[in-house]
Symmetry: C2
Subunit: 473 residues, 2 copies
Amino acid sequence: MESELRYERLAGELASLIEQGVLVHGDRLPSVRRLADERRLSVSTVVQAMRRLELRGLVEARPQSGYFVCRPPLPHREPAARSTPEAASSVDISQRLVRLMQAGLQPGVVPLAAALPANSLLPIAALQRLYAGVARRYPRLLEGGSHVDIDSPQLVRQLVRRSLAWGGPLAADEIVITNSCTEALDLCLRTVTRPGDTVAVESPAYYLMLQLLETLGLKALEIPTDPRTGMSVEALELATRQGGVAAVLLVSNGSNPLGCLMPDDRKRALAALTASRGIPLIEDDVYGDLHAGEQRPWPIKAFDRDGNVMLCASFSKSLSPSLRIGFVAAGQRARAVALRKMVGSGGTSPVTQAVLAEYLASTAYERHLRKLRRAYRDQVAAMQAAVARYFPAETRIAQPQAGYVLWVELPEGIDCTACLTQALAAQVAYVPGELFSASGMYRNCLRLNCGNPHTPAIEDAVRRLGAIFSAVG
Amino acid sequence: MESELRYERLAGELASLIEQGVLVHGDRLPSVRRLADERRLSVSTVVQAMRRLELRGLVEARPQSGYFVCRPPLPHREPAARSTPEAASSVDISQRLVRLMQAGLQPGVVPLAAALPANSLLPIAALQRLYAGVARRYPRLLEGGSHVDIDSPQLVRQLVRRSLAWGGPLAADEIVITNSCTEALDLCLRTVTRPGDTVAVESPAYYLMLQLLETLGLKALEIPTDPRTGMSVEALELATRQGGVAAVLLVSNGSNPLGCLMPDDRKRALAALTASRGIPLIEDDVYGDLHAGEQRPWPIKAFDRDGNVMLCASFSKSLSPSLRIGFVAAGQRARAVALRKMVGSGGTSPVTQAVLAEYLASTAYERHLRKLRRAYRDQVAAMQAAVARYFPAETRIAQPQAGYVLWVELPEGIDCTACLTQALAAQVAYVPGELFSASGMYRNCLRLNCGNPHTPAIEDAVRRLGAIFSAVG
């Protein structure tokens, strides 16, 4: 802990010298040996500090020569909110998306498409031990009794406990355990809509949410969304004035792809607006634990006085997608959601619920989250720097407040869907912007996954992408 | 193995003496010691044989006196197929069912309601070892990589291998792994229907299937069903002549609640009829491995030449409900089902898929099934005998060909829904017949779970039920 603080401090000091322009592009940093002597630090502490600066894209190691300050990223501009069509759109993206995702999973392709974390960042060994221990200690979990249809009280208790940090507590009896956050969203949508209904979503919106609307026969009404502060409450107010919106579906903390974080006053206003108009609000908080700032942001649920918000989340982004456990705190609609879960898929794995409950009961999750948040901050910063270095000059780059995806807006006229073929030929995958819109917006945008440590291979992949876009731009 | 055969042989001989009337009600059997001497068997072998006869309801132990032949069951009549309404019905059973199931799970209530197996019959220790071993040996299963969204090739291979015994092989690329058979049915229904559509079902039909139709806004068209040979193909032919039926949903092997088994020529005719009319057939084969006869019956899928049958199953009834793994072999609709699964709930637990694949790859499952089938045959026979002993004389009792539930038809005028209150007060639960119909049929019927060894407590519970029904009849 102490040595962690030391290298953090050194890295921070050097970073601020670079950001202030005291050290500039091409400057050689003092040698590791010298820094260690002068600062009375161990060599390994200095090396760790350098490694962090490398990951943030601020310095690069040159063989036999030491560390040098990188070319500074251009002061990058952020994307702005866009106006959206007034009418709701049918959704039709699934087939394109499936082909794309399969192409992006070919061996050798640099994985900048799917929002997946690096395996090296996950607590695999701890989960292995927990699975083995739980299976050994609790044979009852493998029995066929009635407990199968009942959510683990231990896991529900841990979720309630954690919710204290999110403006909670949630009520234990409003929680339904699911197989994923996706299943939670699906259950909520099926509970409050009928095919043909219209659902208000962010613009851009996470493509899986659009796919959900597609498979349920729902229309998407895209609401202008600020890349910093999220869905426009004013626009939603206008759009719902005449009725006709069956639900609102959004991510208030670290929306995918923008990474925006809604300020508390907006969350409060949104909770009040939807409750007053009787429109159920479905909130996905899967990135809430991966906030870039110091404080764990609250979900909209924390500002809900009416049981109208249905908070969905999972541990796929923060622990491991392999667990297949999510949940929903469904407020006044908890019984309807629970019935739909029981009828439509039955209970959720008792073994995995116990594994997750034991992990959350320990202090391991908090330690793991601190590590993960630091890594994602660095990886996003390094990706931003790389994009600024290699992409066309007019490129706008988002400033995500949570999560590990990066939204990039290229100059008008560059068609990211068309360029994807070239990118895949150059062994790089990304998600083209149009998949985040039901109405065909965002063709000049793309989303990059920053879930992996920013290696030279990733840096080079971004360079190749930049060359492709510069050639067509 | 050898000693198993010996006690089986002795039990079989004694049973046939009882069934032939050589030994009659009240006769004392030769003592265990004498039988062991005469037959040159060990005492424990003879005790095992007696225990089997007890479980079948043929003999009873009297303290200090030995084993005596029980009162023979009345030669019981079986229920007959009933005619059904011509129009499809909206379904509205969920709320009643939830209350009922919760009441049936109270401590102290004899569990004759939910179709759950006794834990003592399940291979819990083997599953514990497999979970621990899989978690230790395959850390990759706990990672966050792209494998999460891909079904385990090992498990798919085992399913294909097993399908050779069901008239298979299934094609690996038509299989979608799910979280349960229920989820498989839900995915199939959502793939081939829209709310307001009509689905043809058996009559009586499994209440969970009716609930699925209810939550999806579908109507149920009840087709007359023979308690021995299943859904009437002739009636279905008539009902689908004018169009308007979006899907057929049934259990061809061991239908719940009747336990009927459709003969092969009916299965072939049903596959041909539905294919020729373009009506998707969704088949639940969750009881196929629990056949009472010698041969593993084939599903309708085995007679399907058109990819029109969607075969759904799981290992909840034959292995443990805790696994939460099912599958569907969806034929020509496999890609649509797979997409819906991915969008609506994501991948299925990689750890549990590996556990199940390893179990199926061993010889343990076949040994386990032999034991389970024998137990269920005995338990069903004992329950039939008890019902014949204690229920009103005009009672009809089904003769299930697979599975472990027993359908009982009381004389007209006895209202099993009304009697349930008294039954619960007497600490016995069952499922009243009306929950197996969307149109309110079967109020004089009920379903009994035979998943538990037929203990004196269960015998006495059936006696208490019989007293309640006799009092109102």
